[in-house]
């Protein structure tokens, strides 16, 4: 373990040892599998189970792990090997992470490095190294206000989609900040619990609008008086029908010029009266747009209005996911429950601080500017400084600093 890891582990242990520390307990807590990623050797301890939150807390106090996970699945025997566990269903979970969003600030604060040839670059990591085509590209991300704000807005958008399209009566829904770059939405629902992987994948595809065929969502050429007229769904219709219309409206009014529309068509678009779309479809008012352009417009519209979830997390029925109320070893911040009605005003840089007291001396290699609480820090470059513990922990966890000896 490095000296930074020693210090982080020690701080984590102090945090967990606090006398009135309590842990979040998921529904059916004793049917879950728990896992801990240890600082030492990045070793994963898994297939564990705990009768109650107290025994779980005792284990966490002993191990002081970098990350604590629990399974979204329920098992007959959570301690057995994977194929012997006896799967009893799983919560439906969604993950929205800045990793999957296109924020303009990434180019400023994210870096990547090819493990094979050491090529480096800024911004989101490419799928394969542009130089040697290897796919072992390592990414070093940063968490910034902008990225987290967009992740939160995307989460709100996802929730709207869940409530209007997916939700059935009884589902009990919770939102958590991950303590790093995103939010998790957990649905504990009898209806969804037994869904298998391929069925969950359908839900993923739905939310992403993947392979959506507009002609199956009501967009069709219908013969009328000897010519083909484009008919489509209407603004207020349920599901993707209405969402597609709203997306198309956005795309056309925002960037009609870039889509190769002619003057006459743009004129029609500018004359549109949004209020009217509830009753009067706009399809037939747009004449002479060829099929290719329409396809392009619809694709854009779907992309704009889809929920940008991580598809792997939702379809995996054996997933281990961060336990709310525990520390995130990537940041030293807490994973926390965010009540729905507070999501809009939730500030992760205030409300997930785990170390509000004290100062720590560190030596920073390189760090962008960041905020903790109401204070801004950095940017830093090769300097020895003393920072409030939470800020120092963030830099230590992000491998941007070492403790000053």
């Amino acid at each position: 373990m490095s000296s930074a890891e020693h210090l982080i582990k020690q701080k984590f242990q102090q945090f967990y040892l606090e006398r009135n520390r309590t842990l979040f307990s998921p529904p059916a807590a004793s049917q879950r599998e728990y896992g801990f990623l240890l600082f030492k050797g990045k070793f994963m301890v898994r297939h564990r189970t705990f009768k109650n939150p107290e025994t779980l807390l005792t284990a966490i106090r002993d191990l002081s792990p970098a990350h604590v996970y629990f399974s979204t699945a329920y098992y007959q025997d959570p301690t057995a090997s994977m194929d012997q566990k006896g799967w009893l269903g799983a919560d439906l979970v969604f993950d929205i992470d800045a990793d999957h969003l296109d924020t303009p600030c990434k180019i400023m604060h994210d870096n990547w490095k090819c493990k094979a040839c050491s090529t480096v670059g800024k911004g989101s990591a490419p799928k394969t190294c542009p130089k040697c085509k290897n796919d072992r590209v390592e990414i070093e991300t940063w968490l910034c206000d902008r990225c987290l704000q967009e992740a939160k807005e995307e989460t709100i958008h996802l929730l709207e989609m869940i409530f209007s399209d997916l939700q059935m009566g009884d589902a009990n829904l919770s939102v958590y900040f991950s303590g790093h770059r995103g939010y998790h939405v957990h649905l504990h629902s009898e209806d969804f619990r037994m869904l298998r992987e391929e069925q969950r994948r359908e839900i993923v595809d739905y939310l992403l609008g993947e392979q959506l065929d507009p002609s199956l969502q009501g967009m069709e050429d219908v013969p009328e008086g000897g010519v083909l007229i484009l008919k489509g769904p209407q603004w207020g219709e349920p599901g993707w029908r209405g969402r597609m219309v709203r997306g198309i409206y956005e795309v056309l009014t925002k960037e009609g010029e870039n889509l190769g529309l002619n003057q006459a068509q743009l004129k029609v678009i500018n004359a549109w009266d949004k209020a009217n779309f509830f009753t009067k479809p706009f399809w037939s008012s747009l004449k002479g747009i060829n099929a290719g352009t329409w396809k392009n417009i619809v694709q854009r519209a779907v992309r704009e209005t889809a929920a940008k979830i991580d598809s792997v997390v939702t379809s995996d029925v054996h997933r281990l996911i961060r336990l709310p109320g525990t520390l995130n070893g990537h940041t030293g911040l807490l994973g926390v429950n965010v009540p729905l009605e507070r999501l809009d005003e939730f500030d992760p840089f205030i409300e997930s601080i785990a170390f509000p007291e004290g100062q720590v001396k560190i030596t920073v290699k390189d760090s962008p500017e960041f905020r903790i609480g109401s204070q801004n820090f950095g940017p830093f470059h090769d300097e020895k400084i003393e920072l409030p513990t939470a800020a120092a922990m963030l830099l230590l966890c992000k491998h941007k600093a070492e403790p000053t000896s």
């Binding site: 090997s81 839900i203 219908v222």
Partner: protein, 350 residues
């Protein structure tokens, strides 16, 4: 709600099971002359399914039509031939669909809710050119729709509103067909402890029919590979197709055989696996399998084709997220089996 004529049309419904129970006939009575129409019809049900994948509707003798259904299932359970069970389930399901699609919404709703336990709501909503009769609970929809291949069954192409998937009457019948298929398959898998004496000769006759239409009855199973659950979607799909007696093109067979050989299945098992194919020729198959395995011809052991090749030949099927990370079905198998055995990459999470 359902008449006896309905039970004859839909012998899988809960009421038909009750009807059979109330008659209280015991297995010994099956041998008596009054039951010979039932036994004959049970046998014909099987033969129709095996020979033309279709089962007729015989309304002239309602009680024989109702009673013969459980007897066919019983016989299939005793034969224990997976291929025959699948054929039969598919044929019974198609028969149900052809009848269901002509029914009133009330009757569809009744069968779907009481027998299948579906949560179904009457809608009567017109959107564009379609009239949606029902809203079906999302979970009930998905359980059946994932087996259907046309794009219209993919969830992004559906109207989904507050957990209800809008479905037309015809679509409801189609989803019910799928439900029937699964249930019949399940029913015929129950193996009775012993062969009831009076059925003995019928079972032997039926076994003969299976041989006649599907070839020598081998104990058909997935080849004994370490982890059948770790197979990629394309390979499972190929196996399903063979099971259902569908024709599989050359590239598909080649991929399947090469895949299985590479993960350690034996030649014999693979040859068996191709038996259900409609144009099965054992000698040809054996030759091909041994060729792929490197025992004949150039002695090169073939590896499984790459995903890109399989995609261009239409063999790739519903690739999943693991597929995004691999380039060959064999790597899929490796990765998935590691995950399943819990040795996989730690599922850590940011």
């Amino acid at each position: 709600m359902l008449t006896r004529a309905d039970l004859a049309k839909y012998p899988f419904v809960a009421e038909a099971t009750d009807y059979v129970r109330e008659l209280g006939f015991s297995i010994d009575e099956i041998a008596t002359p009054e039951f010979s129409p039932v036994l004959d019809r049970a046998e014909r049900r099987l033969e129709e399914a095996l020979s033309k994948s279709q089962i007729s509707v015989e309304v002239s003798n309602e009680s024989a039509e109702i009673l013969s259904f459980p007897v066919s299932n019983l016989i299939l359970g005793l034969i224990g031939d997976e291929r025959a069970r699948r054929r039969f389930a598919l044929a019974e399901a198609k028969r149900a669909y052809d009848l269901l699609r002509q029914e009133s919404p009330e009757k569809l709703e009744h069968i779907a809710t009481t027998t299948f336990g579906w949560r179904l709501e009457r809608l009567d909503i017109r959107l564009g050119l379609r009239l949606y009769d029902f809203g079906l609970n999302l979970a009930d929809f998905l359980r059946n729709s994932v087996h259907l291949r046309e794009p219209r069954w993919n969830l992004p192409n559906r109207v989904l509103n507050h957990g209800l998937v809008y479905v037309t009457r015809e679509e409801t019948a189609r989803l019910m067909e799928e439900e029937v298929r699964m249930r019949v398959l399940e029913r015929s898998s129950k193996v009775p402890a012993s062969v009831p004496q009076p059925l003995g000769s019928k079972v032997e006759r039926a076994r003969g029919l299976v041989i006649k239409w599907l070839g020598i009855p081998t104990q058909y199973e997935l080849p004994k590979v370490p982890m059948p659950d770790a197979m990629p979607p394309c390979i499972r799909h190929l196996i399903d197709n063979l099971n259902e007696g569908k024709n599989v093109q050359h590239m598909g067979r080649f991929a399947l055989a090469a895949f299985l050989l590479n993960i350690g299945a034996g030649d014999e098992e693979i040859v068996k696996m191709f038996k259900p194919a409609t144009d099965f020729s054992e000698r040809m198959t054996r030759y091909q399998v041994e060729h792929i395995g490197g025992k004949r011809g150039g002695r090169t052991k073939y590896t499984c084709p790459m995903c890109t090749t399989l995609k261009t030949h239409g063999v790739c099927f519903k690739p999943d997220k693991i597929c995004d990370t691999i380039r060959n079905p064999l790597s899929y198998y490796k990765r998935k089996s590691r995950i399943l055995s819990g040795k996989g990459p730690s599922r850590e999470f940011s």
